[in-house]
């Protein structure tokens, strides 16, 4: 790990690139997204390429075999649909900007179709709503700048979603719920989504995408989780997933 955690560095940013081209991950489809992310980071680090951004005291780690740009150029952008999910544990709005900027740069795009936020915290429902409102304006800016078409929320109670929906200017148009509960979606939520044309999507992500034990497993040292993004690139109307990967930020 020595080369990725050099002394003067405060922040590590890991870009897994397109994990669909990691055979070891394809061969192990039973992993949940956290396990998959842990393995993707390990594979990236074992074949790493480090660029030191001295000014930011940041080491940017990518895989030597990163084929992301190549994958993205295989298709005309207009035929691709790009979705991003941001995993946060605090309501630090600058993280959203950082995460999206890094993701846009990695994918070499100026806009994406949707961004879904998962804000993991152990607070009360009211506190959760407040935290989401604290970061929402940052997301709205991306929408207003036409960099993001749709924004949405993951793992939020129906009442919380309604509160956010009422309070904000740019409305969330996606709610993502964990698939463990998907077959019993509350009828009131379903009706609300139908009435407001909110997409009710499913996911299979654990509440905490990269727990501290995973971080320790990978780096042999405790690091703080800042944010993670997952990008998914589909070919429109063909049901083909062409690119999938993660970028994450950790602090010493």
């Amino acid at each position: 790990m020595a080369n990725v955690l050099t002394e003067n560095v405060k922040t590590l940013i890991v870009n897994t690139g397109n994990i669909l081209s990691f055979n070891d991950i394809t061969k192990n489809p039973g992993q949940n997204p956290s396990e998959e992310l842990e393995e993707a980071i390990k594979l990236t680090i074992s074949n790493n390429h480090v660029s030191n951004l001295a000014a930011e005291e940041t080491n940017l780690i990518t895989s030597k075999h990163n084929d992301l740009v190549e994958k993205m150029s295989e298709h005309d952008l207009e035929n691709l649909k790009i979705g991003i999910k941001i995993f946060l544990t605090t309501d630090n709005a600058t993280y959203i900007k950082q995460a999206l900027d890094k993701a846009f740069a990695a994918l070499n795009v100026s806009s994406v179709h949707n961004v879904i936020v998962s804000l993991y915290n152990k607070g009360t429902p009211d506190e959760q709503v407040q935290k989401i409102l604290n970061i929402w304006s940052c997301l709205e800016e991306f929408v207003n700048a036409k960099k993001v078409q749709q924004i949405g929320l993951s793992d939020i109670e129906e009442n919380g979603f309604r509160s956010v929906y009422e309070a904000v200017k740019v409305k969330p148009s996606i709610i993502q719920i964990n698939l463990a509960t998907c077959c019993v979606v509350p009828p009131t939520l379903q009706a609300f989504c139908k009435e407001h044309e909110v997409l009710l999507l499913t996911h299979s992500d654990p509440a905490e995408i990269l727990p501290s034990t995973s971080i320790f497993n990978i780096f042999d040292t405790p690091l703080n989780f800042n944010w993670a993004v997952r990008f998914l690139v589909h070919i429109k109307c063909r049901g083909v997933l062409t690119t999938k990967g993660y970028i994450l930020s950790l602090n010493k």
Binding site: P29, G30, N47, H65, K81, L201, S204, I235
Partner: protein, 636 residues
């Protein structure tokens, strides 16, 4: 099959004289269409299923069930509706071989959104109800692969008698009246196949030998030299083409993707055949096999004794290994080429002509292989064609090569692209099961393209798997050749080391024998499993909650079928018969057993009878008629 235009069929002698004409113009038509359409790009995913049904007539007093020969009446009404509103109908109906059969497809193809998986079953239900409204008292529409007593005495309603000495079929068991009378194609095909072959088709199915089974099973061997005494003897095209199957067709984005999917689905065909096995009874006897495939193959085997290798070649050009109906003989993609290990019979002149017109080796071989066959059905009106515009002669040969997969060029003057048809599956009793199978296969195509998977094994091994798949209980008990490492990506580089050692890459081509369960559900540390791969793919897709729930119910069902937790349709039917109070352990399926079996099937298909041993405990999905507006709005 499209709407069949009625025409005047030529006799076999006339058709035979024109067979070179059909081949010659068929090839020119293919070359022209290939030149026009080879570079067609960017087609989106569109796909559709085809479900075939049997009309059954129950007699509650006599306790009998017969095939009802009313398809022509029902189709007349359904096709009138279509003609009145060709783009508005929700389903399309076509005739099939039997006068008791109908084939239904969705009115419009499904599209490339995952939400489309949630409307398949609703459309299947709609189709069933649409026909059910037209039925008379005592009639039922059933999706069963084979009518168990097809060919037994008085098996049709109204009753018809076989005419062994005259007519199109000349069967000991299958009357010509049971062939669909609404279009001349079907009788013509039967007659021409028999005449071309030089004798009636002959199919001998090993009988399931139970404790009190009497051999010979009946007097067939006294009436026909072709009959084996300990086999169920069948002697008519109707025994095969009168079976129902579940097929699906999907559009690829271009010709290369179509080739890849054609090839990659080939090793899956026998697996899907074993998984969907649903035909354990023929002509009132329990068979020692579970599938229709071998029977259909034999039922249209028009090869002459010379072509079958029984006599030296004299009047014919080739010895041909398989019937016109069988598994495919060659892969079409560059990756597939090295697995074409069975010498291909093809017409060298046609091959050269295709090559001279810049058609690559693999596609040229494929087409030249299809064109070793003669036309077996030709209409006066279609003899002379404009080879720049028409493709009927090409389609004439192409559509009478009935194989596990069909590689379909775009039709002339249409917006349709290159397509692949997947044909091995047997039909299941309920819409839930059929929708599950259809969605599973289409999902697999998306997984193959997304993860760039490689399932290829030598074509000879696929052939072996096809034979294995039809055995009794194959889904649970047999093992199939399957590729061990299905990944193809080249990073990290260490993973690719094994390829460097051997110049032919054989070290990477490890295939081994696996059960259907291991293939579908995975084998710890050795094989990931198709369903876990689908689930991993789904976790990267935008899926709405209802669709997700429906797909999960379908996948669970398939997992249970594969693991043996629930029975295949064939095993369930077998158990029903052997457990029936009227069954005498003699392999015979009496009128009464047949009646009770089909009554139960009818109850299961309508949901009146729960059948967890066949369907599991949750055979209910969240299927809906239409895609939610929020979903179609952001289509992409």
């Amino acid at each position: 099959m499209g709407l069949l235009t009625i025409g005047n069929p030529l006799s076999w002698e006339e058709t035979k004289k024109l067979s070179d004409h059909v081949r010659k113009h068929g090839i020119i038509q293919f070359i022209n269409l290939y030149k026009r359409l080879k570079d067609r790009q960017g087609d989106i995913l569109k796909w559709g299923d085809e479900v075939e049904y049997i009309l059954v007539k129950f007699d509650e007093e006599a306790k009998t069930a017969k095939v009802s020969l009313r398809a022509v009446d029902i189709l007349n009404i359904l096709q009138e509706r279509e003609e009145a509103n060709p783009t508005g109908v929700k389903s399309l109906w076509r005739p099939e071989y039997g006068a008791y059969m109908v084939e239904g497809t969705p009115g419009k193809p499904y599209g490339g959104l995952l939400a489309h998986f949630n409307i398949v079953e609703a459309n299947m239900k709609y189709r069933r109800e649409e026909v059910e409204e037209l039925l008379l008292d005592g009639e039922a529409l059933m999706s069963i692969t084979n009518f168990p007593r097809l060919g037994c005495e008085d098996f049709s309603f109204p009753i018809a008698k076989p005419t062994p000495d005259q007519g199109a079929t000349r069967s000991l068991f299958f009357p010509d009246e049971v062939i669909y009378p609404g279009h001349p194609r079907f009788k013509t095909l039967s007659q021409n196949i028999r005449e071309r072959r030089g004798e009636k088709v002959a199919i001998n199915i090993p009988v399931f030998k139970d404790e009190k089974t009497v051999i010979p099973v009946d007097d067939s061997h006294l009436r026909s030299k072709a009959a084996l005494p300990d086999h169920i003897y069948l002697d008519a095209m109707g025994f095969g083409m009168g079976c129902c199957c579940l097929q699906l067709t999907f559009q690829a984005c271009n010709i290369n993707e179509a080739r890849i999917l054609y090839d990659q689905l080939t090793p899956l065909s026998p697996i899907m055949l074993a998984l969907t096995a649903a035909a354990p009874i023929f002509r009132g006897f329990l068979a020692d096999i579970d599938c229709r495939w071998y029977i259909i193959s034999g039922s249209v085997d028009d090869r002459t004794p010379e072509e079958r290798g029984l006599k030296p070649l004299n009047n014919n050009k080739f010895v041909i290994g398989k019937s016109r109906f069988d598994s495919i003989d060659s892969y079409l993609s560059p990756q597939g080429e090295k697995y074409n290990d069975v010498p291909l019979t093809y017409d060298k002149e046609i091959y050269n002509q295709l090559r001279e017109n810049d058609i690559d080796h693999l596609l040229a071989e494929h087409v030249a292989h299809l064109f070793i066959r003669d036309s077996v059905s030709l209409f006066t009106e279609k003899v002379n064609q404009d080879d720049e515009q028409d493709t009927d002669h090409f389609e004439n040969i192409q559509s009478t090569n009935w194989q596990t997969l069909r590689f379909k060029p775009p039709p002339p003057n249409s917006t349709i692209g290159w397509r692949v048809e997947f044909r091995p599956c047997e039909i299941q009793i309920t819409d839930f099961e059929n929708a599950a199978i259809v969605c599973f296969v289409v999902l697999m195509t998306r997984v193959i393209l997304s993860f760039k998977l490689n399932f290829l094994i030598p074509i000879s091994k696929v052939d072996e798997n096809m034979r294995t798949a039809q055995k009794k209980g194959a889904c649970l008990n047999e093992k199939f050749w399957f590729r061990k490492d299905i990944t193809t990506q080249i990073s990290p580089p260490e993973a690719n080391e094994c390829c460097k050692g051997a110049s032919n890459g054989s070290n990477c081509d490890v295939f081994t024998k696996m059960t259907v369960n291991e293939i579908i559900n995975g084998k710890n540390g050795e094989f990931p499993g198709l369903i876990p791969l689908i689930n991993n793919y789904l976790s990267g897709m935008e899926v709405d909650a209802d669709t997700h729930c429906t797909i999960q119910r379908y996948l669970k069902f398939i997992q249970r079928r594969a693991s043996g937790e629930i029975l295949t349709t064939a095993s369930w039917i077998r158990n029903f018969v052997t457990g029936h109070e009227d069954y005498k352990m003699d392999s015979k399926v009496s009128d009464r057993i047949n009646f009770d079996l089909l009554k139960t099937v009818k109850g299961i298909q309508s949901g009146m009878i729960a059948c967890p041993e066949l369907l599991g405990y949750c055979p209910v999905s969240k299927t809906v008629e239409k895609i939610p507006p929020a979903m179609s709005k952001v289509a992409g």
